[in-house]
Amino acid sequence: MRENSILSVQNLHVIYSALRGTVKAVRDVSFELRKRECLAFIGESGSGKSTLGTSLISLIPGTGRVSDGKIIYRGNSKEVNIAKLSENDVRKLRWKEIAMVFQSALNSFNPILKIWNHVLETAKAHGVNDKNFVRKKSLELLELVQLDPERVLKSFPHELSGGMKQRTLIAMSLLLDPKILILDEPTTALDILTQKNIIELLKKIKSELELAMIFISHDLSIAAELADRVATMYGGKIVEIGPTDSIFYHPKHPYTKGLLKAVPKISGGFEELFSIPGEPPDLINPPSGCPFHPRCQYADEICKKEAPQLERVEEEHYVACYKWRGIADEK
């Protein structure tokens, strides 16, 4: 694991037991997260990105579990494998070291508790019992997210709007100074103006605090604004990863190219919208070899046989494809 990395995921496999069979949601994923960097995971539904996020705090829903691989977290110079931690140890680590904010906070709060109670109990759960300190800190954080602190603290969740709740949740996520903040679709289900506000807020947090962020979304444009590096996921695997500019200006993987092409341009005329033909893969019986080959126009025999590993394209930029060299860049 690198010197300035804070998280190292190595050959991670996550599976779910479903009625029909085993769903291989995350397949052989490896990456490192560096201090203070924002790494975005982009992919469609079922690409495994959300499962990946939840696995990092050992909170995979339903029957999901890590079947192989390691999730090494380095906090305070000690290294632990999150995948092998006991429930009690993982509980201590959650929110305090690694905080995760889920999609749309509309129902993230207990309807019968005031926000202040939420904050206080979170602090207490991690051994922080000084009420005054907690109060001061939470007021500061709520100001940081541009809310009226006093009012929010004494409110019940139903008294706050969707946008306010999302901001409150983000503020609360910073309460214990986590080293890593994972955000899973934090702006989906919010209106577009609120989305913009939240993004601006996240940018602010990123610049002011010493945090590493993992940002999970299907929305490329948001990733472009926030992330330092972007990883595209498909069929449970990382198919391309690299600095944001590289990915956006010289994408090498056919899937990434397709994603970028599919984004409608404001400047464009009424040309037909592009969408990647085909359907997402069945993760119980995933396609052999490269998961994208059924939908890829460049695929041939070798793509069907064995899954390509990530190979270096340029500085920091890797792609998992046999054909990338032969594909011309598009404008």
Binding site: P61, R94, F102, N107, F109, N110, F156, H158
Partner: protein, 343 residues
């Protein structure tokens, strides 16, 4: 002062008003049922008096009027007003059978027993039900879940009065666990009321079977409802977020899952109260437990109309009041209600 007005503009006030209006309506319906039904009891009674005692029509009518505290010659509407006036004064008429005894007094001697037995039963049943319900929800699909769910379903299928008979047979006759004298009545004959251990233990011994009957016949429903509600709540986002926040399991179970899972059960609570009070007519019959339920049967059997009317009224009013209290409790537990929301 302003906050007082605001609070009362809301939930509590509205529920109280509704309870009051319902009582008025029920009282009115009762009055008109008694007078307008085929087989008008007053006319029957007059007829009875005439044939049995050889009274003239006028004499019989006067006697009936005295028992009902009504002026039978006045137009119906003014009789209705009299009736309402009497009610507010606590005058429910006099018993036909126990000559001249005030209905209110009779009811006052019966009501406490029913409130006692039904009240304890509801508390026990609800508590045990939600405790077990949440336990088996967490252990969903396991052996404990299957057994308890199965037993619960069987228990809810047995009508409470039939369960009472079964208990009588099982505990009293077959296994001879309980002496027959304990299975009937509210207290042993000749027992002096008072705060003595002797009296209190006697009361509980006699109430044991009725309470057991009520509890066993309703606990299954609570277990299954709570199980369902808990399973629903477990799927809620805020529970997942609570885990992500690193909250201890215990806290999540009680304050996140438990407290929220109970809320939907309150609608059933109001129905259950009504059902239990209604069922007291049968359960008290089985155990000869002299509460208002037994009094209803007894007064119907003896055609003692003033008592019948009074008991029916009291049972209904008790249900309305109990429901109102349940509504209040719910308002306290769910903050979404307090803040001036609609029902």
């Amino acid at each position: 002062m302003g906050w007082l007005v605001k609070l009362f503009r809301n939930y509590v006030f509205r529920r109280a008003i509704r309870a009051f209006i319902t009582i008025l309506i029920v009282v009115t319906i009762t009055f008109f049922i008694v007078r307008l039904m085929p087989g008008n009891p007053i006319e029957i009674y007059i007829g009875q008096l005439m044939s049995q005692y050889g009274m003239t029509f006028q004499e019989a009518k006067n006697a009936a009027a005295a028992l009902f505290s009504l002026d039978l010659d006045a137009p119906l509407f003014s009789q209705y007003l009299d009736y309402m006036k009497n009610l507010f004064r606590g005058d429910l008429g006099r018993s036909f059978v126990s000559q001249g005894v005030e209905v209110v007094d009779l009811i006052a001697s019966y009501l406490p027993w029913t409130l006692f037995s039904v009240g304890i039963s509801i508390l026990l049943s609800f508590s045990i039900g939600i405790a077990l319900g949440i336990v088996i929800a967490y252990k969903r699909g396991g052996l404990l879940d299957q057994i308890i769910s199965g037993i619960s379903t069987v228990l809810t299928s047995i009508p409470n009065y039939l369960l009472g008979i079964i208990l009588l047979i099982l505990l009293g006759v077959q296994l001879q666990l309980i002496p027959v004298s304990m299975m009937r009545g509210t207290v042993s004959p000749g027992m002096k009321p008072g705060f003595t251990w002797k009296f209190i233990s006697d009361v509980f011994k006699h109430a044991a079977l009725p309470i057991l009957t009520y509890v066993l016949s309703t606990v299954g429903g609570w277990i299954l409802s709570m199980r369902g509600s808990t399973l629903n709540t477990l799927g809620e986002d805020f529970v997942t977020v609570a885990k992500a926040r690193g909250l201890p399991e215990r806290r999540i179970t009680f304050t996140y899952v438990g407290r929220n899972a109970i809320l939907p059960l309150f609608t059933s609570l109001t129905m259950q109260i009504g059902f239990m009070m209604g069922g007291s007519a049968l359960v008290e019959f089985i155990f000869v437990y002299k509460g208002v339920g037994w009094a209803l049967w007894s007064s119907i059997g003896q055609r003692d109309y003033p008592v019948m009317q009074g008991v029916f009224l009291i049972i209904t009013i008790a249900v309305i009041v109990a429901n109102f209290m349940a509504d209040l409790l719910y308002g306290k537990l769910d903050p979404r209600i307090k803040a001036g929301g609609s029902e």
